[in-house]
Amino acid sequence: MAAAATTTTRQKVGWGAGNTAAIVIVAIPLLWIVSLSFKTPAAITDPSFWPAQWTWGNYSGILTTATFVRPLLNSIGIGLIATFIAVAFASMAAYAVARLAFPGKRLLVAGALLVSIFPQISLVTPLYNIERVLKLFNTWPGLILPYVAFGLPMAVYILAAFFQQIPWQLEKAAKVDGATPWQAFTKVIAPLAAPGMVTSAILVFMFCWNEFLFAISLTSTLGARTAPAALAFFSGSSQFTTPTGPIAAAAVVITIPIIIFVSVFQRRIVSGLTSGAVKG
């Protein structure tokens, strides 16, 4: 007993120390950015962790310039549209993958995996040329298309796993109850796969939101540039000040939608929604 208790205590201490270390490593840079965003330009080089004098100046600065507000709106618009398209198509594709046996299914699944692991950097140059020819360069669709392409495989994989968990008999029951295949999908299967759809939507949205390489390569003006790319083009309030404060403030601002997005939907990401469907 005593030995077991000692081990347990030891384990607790070990885990506690490990967890604390991990949290500190993640949290310190985050808090540091937050702190920086509240420092005055003169105090940027001040080595103290928290600002001696708090200021909203950096925030009011970036939120009043089109160089940040416009990209922020671009990010939200492009992210939401790409997410919606990706999840809508992915749910149909995943349903087919999970439920139907069709020729080329293995090829489709393998192809999806291949697309998702394809290094983006190798696609930038061809995409750049293609989009210029197709007049998609520096437009919303020009970013939405590649985002959907990369978001789809991820969403298909997540959703297929969810669909596979839904009892097959529910769909049979719906058919016998007089549902068309489309009604069976929309009224019975899709509501049950909602947690999967939300999960994949969050992941696709986060991918679009954080994406930098395409955003910086396939845009040239504020018309389509997204927030992460815009950050790279920040200049200080005058030509001679380093834009450290505004960049920190912008970094904090673009984190906020993700936090809102996740916290609103996380309650929906609960497993066990299907409990009670079937017995045994």
Binding site: P167, Q169, L170, K172, A173, A174, K175, V176, D177, G178, A179, T180, Q183, K187, V188, P191, L192, L273, T274, S275, G276, A277, V278, K279, G280
Partner: protein
């Protein structure tokens, strides 16, 4: 309500597997027909074909006189209760029960009224606003039934609806299903692998084996006059005892002694002598001391050492060993046992089960005198499995099993 006619219905899967082979069955309006058989016999496939969830490869299916082979489930007007209930977990009981009507664009008022009526008849009124996850197994089962009743369909299909309930609830629900079916006058096709359910519930029981209909008859007839070895071994618990025998010279030679033969078997045997498989049900044995003298000539008396005696209160099961000569057709019986999915049907050991009256004084280890009633003997052709005592053996053309095949 409507009648259902299966005319030479066949299901062949793309890989060539024959799941159902030329099944012909007429189900009258208001009749309760049980499809029973071991797992993999094609009973669920048949039900799915009736529902329209699986295509019919060949043959014709008519519901209410109309050919429905190519109709989708929604155009067949049938309701189905699934083994797993398949309740929609995101809907309340009320929504579950009203779902089919809602899809049929029934006015809200009528849906409400029908759901309320059905809920009342099933004792679900207090549960209407709950979700399936918050119901007990028995309640979920009722909701599944309610979902079917509400629609007032042409026929009910039940796919092992009680097999997930515990034993006590199963008996109770079995009675309720029977009452419900009588009250609604519903045409019902009920699939089960449980022979007790089959025997107690059905107007008629259709036994399937490997996709082939063996016999479709009222329960008592199946029990008294099984058309072949498979039906004989499948129906009855404990299972019928099988032993080898020879028909010769007006009597039947078995390991228990020479038995007199009656009825149709007598005509059959008069011509030539022939090896047969003899079946005796456990209740056709009796403690010889309890058999009135005038009945004794109807059977034979023999000696057996009782290995095990189980008392069930109302009756006693005596197990004894005899050299039954099963070795001759052990392969057939083993296949039968495997197909029937039960260890006690025609098992390869040489044990006989006898069901004795509880007043017997026989005890374990006794060398007891037992009596076997020869009037209820079943005699089967070892080659085809056909019951020699039943004139019309099986459905035309494909009634008999081929035990070796």
């Amino acid at each position: 309500m409507a009648d259902i006619v299966l005319d030479q219905v066949t299901k062949r899967y793309p890989d060539g597997t024959l799941a159902v082979d030329k099944l012909s069955l007429d189900i009258a309006d208001g009749e309760l027909v049980i499809l029973v058989g071991p797992s993999g016999c094609g009973k669920s496939t048949t039900l799915n074909m009736l529902a329209g969830l699986e295509d019919i490869t060949e043959g014709e299916l008519r519901i209410g006189g109309k050919v429905v082979n190519d109709k989708t489930p929604r155009d067949r007007d049938i309701a189905m209760v699934f083994q797993s209930y398949a309740l929609y977990p995101h809907m309340t009981v009320r929504e579950n029960m009203g779902f089919a009507l809602k899809l049929a664009k029934t006015p809200k008022g009528i849906i409400n009224q029908k759901v309320t009526e059905a809920a009342e008849s099933l004792g679900l009124t207090d549960l209407l606003d709950r979700k399936p996850a918050n119901l007990s197994g028995g309640q979920q089962q009722r909701v599944a039934m309610g979902r079917a009743i509400v629609r007032d369909p042409a026929a009910f299909l039940m796919d092992e609806p009680l097999s997930n309930l515990d034993a006590k609830l199963r008996v109770q629900m079995r009675l309720e299903v029977a009452k419900l079916q009588k009250r609604l006058g519903a045409t019902m096709v009920y699939v089960t692998h449980d022979q007790t359910e089959a025997m107690t519930l059905g107007d008629r029981v259709a036994i399937l084996r490997a996709g082939v209909l063996q016999q479709a008859a009222p329960p008592q007839e199946l029990y008294d006059r099984p058309v072949n070895l498979f039906v004989a071994g499948f129906i009855g618990s404990p299972a019928m005892n099988f032993m080898s025998g020879t028909l010769a010279g007006g009597s039947l030679r078995t390991a228990l002694g020479d038995m007199p033969v009656f009825g149709r078997v007598r005509q059959e045997l008069s011509t030539t002598s022939q090896d047969v498989i003899v079946g005796i049900r456990p209740e056709n044995f009796q403690d010889a001391a309890l058999v009135p003298a005038d009945l004794r000539p109807n059977g034979i008396t023999f000696q057996a050492t009782i290995d095990v005696l189980e008392s069930l209160g109302a009756e006693k099961y005596a197990y004894f060993t005899k050299d039954l000569g099963k070795a001759k057709f052990v392969a057939e019986l083993e296949e039968l046992a495997r197909d029937a999915g039960r260890a006690d049907a025609g098992a390869s050991d040489e044990t006989v089960v006898a069901r004795l009256d509880s007043s017997t004084r026989i005890s374990e280890g006794d060398n007891a005198q037992l009596w076997a009633d020869a009037r209820w003997l079943h005699v089967f052709d070892p080659a085809t499995g056909r019951n020699l005592a039943v004139a019309d053996a099986g459905a035309p053309g494909h009634g008999a099993t081929t035990p070796s095949g």
